[in-house]
């Protein structure tokens, strides 16, 4: 068993390859996620964070690079049974609880779909019992099984989405902005639920979000993405205490906090990619500035940052 459950190596995802409209949604990123860890991925819309999650679970085929799940290449050709096992181990929770549940299916059937596909239940009775068990795990109750998605509030729907992901006993869950569509008070409920489940079942999470305060709260390590590239990666506390990359600094300085006195004195640092001024022969790569703290920078910038840290 490898220490890292997930390893992403030089992953690239280009859309419209060869056309003038080529988009480099993910441009050569590498990171790994340890067993039982929560890895947060943040960045503004269009930076490629959702594409990363979707490529990792093979909703898209990667243009280049590898995603290793426990040593097994997700994108390599595999037999159907190998694919099925992998699909059971990786699950996804989607952003919009209003769009990610089929409105014409009962909650019972939505949650049981994975059970049916993987042949995890033998009888109808067992199927229903398992669904009820799952509903109770996520804080809903047995009566909810016979209802349709429209009868639920946003927070409840997101719980159904979580129950669906949990149905096949996954080890790794990709949560793509699971709370952005919810109210503040409900966000806290869902985040607490995710944390409890992680402790209970030893789950590993990739948590994608643009709400940085929530990401810091739930993640062990955080990666910051900007225009398809990972610009900084560090343990959550370290990233917030010592942001190194100019973009991370700008992102952190833009978060409004529920503290009027702080807000009156907050200074925003706008980010301009042109400030970097990389020369043609400068190598811009991921460099480790402190243990487990990586920054995308050139040799010269690296030295400046090291000096600043002293």
């Amino acid at each position: 068993m490898a220490e890292h459950l997930i390893e992403v190596k030089n992953l690239k995802q280009y859309f419209n390859v060869g056309k003038s409209s080529e988009v480099r949604a993910i441009d050569d990123i590498s990171f790994s996620i340890k067993r039982g860890e929560t890895f947060g991925l943040v960045g503004e819309s269009g930076c490629g964070k959702s594409t990363t999650g979707r490529t990792m679970i093979r909703l898209y085929d990667a243009t280049a690079g590898q995603v290793l799940y426990d040593g097994l290449d997700v994108h390599a050709p595999k037999s159907q049974s190998e694919n099925q096992t992998l699909n059971r181990k990786m699950q996804m929770i989607f952003q919009d609880p209003y769009a990610s549940l089929n409105p014409r299916m009962k909650v019972l059937d939505i949650i049981a779909e994975g059970l049916d596909i993987h042949g995890l239940v033998k009888t109808k009775k067992e199927r229903k019992e398992r669904v009820i068990e799952l509903l109770e795990t996520v804080g809903l109750n047995r009566e909810h099984a016979e209802r349709y998605p429209h009868e639920f509030s946003g927070g409840q729907r997101q719980r159904i989405g979580i129950a669906r992901a949990l149905a096949v006993d996954p080890e790794f869950i990709i949560a793509d902005e699971p709370i952005s569509a919810l109210d503040v008070s409900i966000q806290a409920q869902v985040v607490n639920l995710l944390k409890e489940l992680q402790e209970e079942k030893g789950l590993t999470y990739l948590f994608i979000a643009h709400d940085l305060s929530m990401v810091k709260y739930i993640s062990d390590r955080i990666g910051v993405m900007y225009f398809g590239k990972l610009v900084e990666m560090a343990p959550a506390d370290e990233l917030y205490r010592n942001p190194m990359h100019a973009y991370t600094k700008s992102l952190l300085s833009a978060i409004p906090l529920p503290d009027p006195i702080y807000e009156r004195s907050r200074v925003r640092h706008p980010y301009n990619p042109k400030d970097h001024q990389y020369g043609p022969d400068e190598k811009v790569e991921f460099r480790e500035i402190a243990p487990e703290h990586f920054v995308l920078c050139s040799e010269k910038e690296f030295k400046e940052m090291q000096a600043a840290r002293m």
């Binding site: 503040v184 806290a188 643009h210 810091k216 833009a254 409004p256 906090l257 529920p258 807000e263």
Partner: protein
């Protein structure tokens, strides 16, 4: 301290197939000239309905003003004719909507959309109106306004579209600007730019803003005063410092504690249990009582009136009644109260050598 808008005992219901939904159940507030009043609350608390009722944008077939008045320049907006309302809308009171992707007309150039209120309300010639349109685009920070006014909404990014929506709202120098979650659909960096823009413009044209949001960080940034809404009522209202550093209502406590703070990690996040009340059958007593651990017997039976905390700060909770037992707010709230002179947990700061 001129009051530009007064909302008094406003009650509004929607008639639906399921019955009467009491969306607003007695809302009172004043808007002072030049201030920003933030209305916070979760979905279904009635914050959007309140502002839409000021603009009279609710469907006449189902929405009914049950009681109360909305006074603007001596007129009661709940009673004036639709024709008068049309003269006010977009001119004296204008609105910025939540989603810049859907609030612009995709088949009209943005120049035309900005010019629309100018031509309708100010009776300018087309060339004058165009000049003003370009000025507005410059004001909200759209580069190359002279050529870009001919473009369509899809040619702009989300942040730029919201700037255009703001330009439309500002076209006639409104006295009141209602912003309904103007930054919820935007990224943090773009959100910060839009908030800065709104504050800058407010200073320039001295307008009053009603700012609706559920993001308390944004409230702390923009608001002068804050009204917290729950279950179709305002449960607490005060200056921004009073609400953030000396909150009195258990719902405000819950809201503030459910935000993760940047320095307090590893604690379990406080989550308000349960869901908001069903306004089809609103609870008899305090609407928040069923979700509150501080609820008393009287909360189930009678709605609390407003208790005065200071001249500017009022909260509707029985906990402030002289006969109520003294309760201890959550730890995070006590931390906040320690910094506020006048709160019962205030700790005097001893010049830095503590």
């Amino acid at each position: 301290m001129t009051k530009i808008l007064q909302v008094k005992d406003l009650e509004l219901s929607f008639h639906t197939f399921a019955g009467e939904v009491k969306a607003i159940r007695g809302v009172n507030f004043d808007l002072i000239k030049g201030e920003t009043l933030a209305i916070v609350g979760e979905s279904g608390s009635g914050k959007s309905v309140t502002t839409k009722s000021i603009m009279r944008l609710l469907p006449q077939s189902s929405a009914e003003y049950k009681n109360g008045e909305i006074l603007f320049e001596g007129k009661d907006l709940t009673k004036v004719s639709e024709k008068t309302m049309q003269k006010i809308r977009g001119k004296d009171i204008s609105m910025i909507f939540q989603d810049p992707m859907t609030s612009l007309n995709p088949t009209m150039t943005i120049g035309k959309q900005i010019m629309e209120p100018i031509l309708k309300h100010q009776k300018l010639s087309k060339s004058k109106a165009l000049e003003q349109t370009i000025n507005l685009l410059n004001l909200v920070g759209i580069p190359n306004a002279e050529s870009r006014y001919k473009m369509y909404p899809h040619q702009f990014s989300g942040g730029q579209r919201q700037r255009i929506v703001i330009a439309i709202a500002l076209a006639c120098n409104p006295k009141i600007l209602i912003a309904d979650e103007p930054t919820t659909a935007l990224d943090v960096t773009i959100q910060a730019q839009i908030l800065e823009l709104m504050k800058e413009i407010q200073k320039k044209i001295d307008t009053s803003i009603i700012f609706i949001t559920h993001d308390l960080g944004v409230v702390a940034n923009v608001a002068d005063r804050v009204a917290v809404m729950y279950g179709g009522k305002i449960v607490e209202i005060g200056t921004v410092d009073e609400i953030f550093y000396n909150p009195q209502h258990p719902y405000t406590w819950g809201l503030l504690s459910s935000m993760p703070s940047m320095d307090l990690a590893d604690q379990k996040l406080y989550a308000i249990p349960g869901t908001p009340p069903d306004l089809l059958n609103p609870p008899k007593g305090d609407a928040f009582a069923l979700r509150s651990e501080y609820a008393m017997k009287i909360d189930m039976e009678r709605q609390p009136p407003f208790f005065k905390v200071s001249d500017t700060h009022y909260a509707a909770t029985w906990l402030l009644h002289p006969q109520a037992p003294e309760v201890e707010p959550p730890a995070v709230i006590i931390e906040r109260m320690k910094t506020f002179p006048g709160s019962r947990y205030y700790v005097e700061q001893t010049g830095g050598n503590a």
